[in-house]
């Protein structure tokens, strides 16, 4: 198995894992981690699929860097909203609490 095939395989597995985790957990922090796992899988696929013969392609690597910053921004915003939601409602999920 070439390293690239390994990237792709790992990317696919992380995507499946993250997807299941995202839908199965209700704790907001775990959901967010599942999203990040799925995101990492996607980034691995983006880089891995683009270099079948092992010569690195700078374009997908730059795309992944952009994608990481976007995912980071979304994660940070979700954390702030989540902490504040917890602060106001005392809940770690979105079921129940004020205003449902």
């Amino acid at each position: 198995m070439t390293p690239v095939q390994l990237y792709v395989l790992a990317g696919v597995l992380l995507c499946g894992l993250g997807f299941a985790g995202f839908l199965l957990t209700s704790h907001l922090l775990r959901k967010l981690m599942a999203f990040n796992i799925m995101g990492s899988g996607t980034f691995l696929l983006l880089v891995g699929l683009a270099q079948p013969n092992n010569t690195p392609d700078p374009v997908p690597q730059a795309l992944v860097l952009t994608g990481i910053v976007v995912a980071l921004a979304a994660t940070a915003l979700a954390l702030v909203l989540m902490r504040r939601w917890y602060h106001l409602s005392g809940r770690t999920d979105l079921q129940g609490g004020p205003g449902d």
Partner: protein, 485 residues
């Protein structure tokens, strides 16, 4: 001329976002008025130029695709840019009078609005798959920020639910992009469209993109996040979200479908998306009928109206070119007229709630007598939503009806008729509540005229679209030529 118009279109919203972040609400409003004028003029100029000379490609940074990112400035894109300028200006002007400047956090409304505007313009014009992803995320995060503005618990819950749905949807789309780049080695939409005939794309690409973007567009049954987010946000924000934001993800889906659908689509995907859209029309309308709060009625009505958009897929797959064109025209007109009508409806609903001081439908009793103007804007917008002649909504439904007949897919006609009937049901419920007599004295607060005029103007445009429907349809059909000289 174009060499200045396109940078102007991209630069002004971003520059205003920066400026408005540094000042308080009132100065931000002043800046935004200037920005609105510039943005509307630039959008008009761009639209007129493209209508006159046809579409073109614009190479950002001077790097041609596929190395660089190109903008596809075609008739459809500039029509949506103009639509965005109209609806966003209306929402911004309304917000300037509607939001309370004494609350410190409201000053963040302006920079978030301008980032949202920039993201929308970016998505309409983008010719690059990854650039569309970044634009989509800019829109999503700005929209979530606008919903959460203020940080009260119910708003936070709606914002979080919205954010999580949006994030999962974007990842579905990004996965599709990864597969596309792996297959073609390029991200340029026009390049992929050329290559697709010889190198058929994997069917999974369209399925993943469709699932992800349907989640972001709130296609039934993935609409669970929409009513709360659109219902809880402040009225001008709801107007922006329902009129424009959900359309951005649908637009990307439609672009992908039109470039790759022939090779990667299937009758199952096309009819399946259509069926979910039809289910959305019925379930959304029924839910709208059952809501007790006015803005929730309008929000569920969006779920129903979004359903119609997905008729594009069955009506443009495996049919004659003329039929597919008819369907595209119908969907485009529906998108435009719904954007105008729904923005009018949310702003009018905001005025009504402000006037009666209560978000319930039942609190509207007596409104028809003392606040006829607000109610009339609401009613005029509803005429277009129901698809009554001579509104833009009517022309759109008429085109879709013809496309269904021409495609031999008569079952969508039932959906179109049932949808109109059901929308009449929830609209008349509101009218019934407001025509109840309460007594001879006027208990209502009367919103300032400036607040009342804006939804009226939008509703009039939604109706007027029925008379000038040919104009956007001819412009969107214009060919796309070379680059900026």
């Amino acid at each position: 001329m174009l060499a200045l118009l396109i940078p102007g279109l991209l630069f002004t919203p971003l520059a205003l976002a920066v400026l408005c972040l540094l000042v308080n609400f009132r100065i931000g409003r002043l800046f935004s008025w200037v920005g609105i004028i510039v943005q509307v003029l630039v959008a008009l100029g761009l639209w007129a130029t493209v209508a006159d000379q046809g579409g073109l490609y614009y190479d950002l940074g001077g790097w041609a695709a596929p190395l660089g990112i190109e903008l596809r400035v075609d008739g459809l894109a500039v029509t949506f840019v103009l639509l965005t300028a109209v609806v966003a200006s209306a929402a911004a002007l309304h917000a300037g009078a509607y939001l309370d400047p004494r609350k410190g956090y409201q000053s963040y409304f302006w920079p978030l609005l301008w980032f949202l505007w920039a993201g929308l313009n970016g998505v309409w014009l983008a010719g690059d798959l990854f650039n569309l992803y970044v634009g989509l995320e800019l829109i999503s995060l700005a929209a979530v920020g606008l919903v959460a503005l203020g940080g009260e618990a119910p708003a936070l819950r709606a914002a979080l639910r919205y954010l999580y749905a949006a994030l999962l949807g974007s990842l579905g789309y990004l996965l599709a992009v990864a597969l596309v780049y792996g297959s073609y080695g390029t991200l340029s939409l026009s390049g992929i469209a050329e290559l697709a005939a010889d190198h058929p794309p994997a069917p999974l690409i369209l399925v993943l993109a469709a699932l992800g973007l349907a989640l972001k567009t709130a296609l039934f049954p993935l609409h669970f996040w929409l009513p709360a987010a659109h219902g809880i946000a402040k009225s001008p924000v709801s107007a922006l979200l329902s009129a424009l934001v959900v359309k951005a993800s649908f637009y990307i889906m439609a672009r992908l479908w039109l470039e790759m659908g022939e090779q990667a689509g299937s009758i199952w995907l096309a009819q399946g998306l259509g069926a979910l859209g039809a289910a959305g029309v019925v379930v959304g309308s029924w839910q709208a009928f059952r809501q007790s709060r006015l803005k929730m009625v309008v929000a569920y009505s969006s779920v129903a109206q979004i359903g119609y958009l997905f008729l594009l897929f069955p009506l443009s797959w495996g049919v004659a070119t003329t039929t597919a064109e008819l369907a595209q025209q119908g969907i485009t007109l529906h998108l435009i007229s719904h954007a105008l009508a729904k923005a009018a409806m949310f702003l009018a609903a905001g005025n009504l709630i402000l006037a009666v001081g209560n978000p319930q439908v039942s609190a509207l009793a007596g409104v028809s007598r003392f606040l006829p103007f607000s109610l009339f804007s609401f009613g005029l917008a509803a005429v277009s939503l129901m698809g009554l002649p001579p509104s833009g909504g009517f022309v759109a439904k008429w085109l879709l009806l013809q496309a269904s007949l021409a495609a031999g897919q008569w079952w969508w006609i039932g959906v179109l008729l049932l949808g109109s009937l059901l929308s009449a049901l929830y609209v008349f419920r509101i009218f019934r509540a407001s025509f109840l007599e309460t007594g001879s004295d006027d208990p209502f607060y009367h919103p300032p005229r400036s607040l009342e005029v804006i939804p009226m103007a939008l509703a009039v445009m939604a109706i007027g679209l029925g008379f000038v429907a040919n104009l956007p349809l001819t412009v969107m059909a214009l060919p796309v030529g070379g680059g900026v000289p």
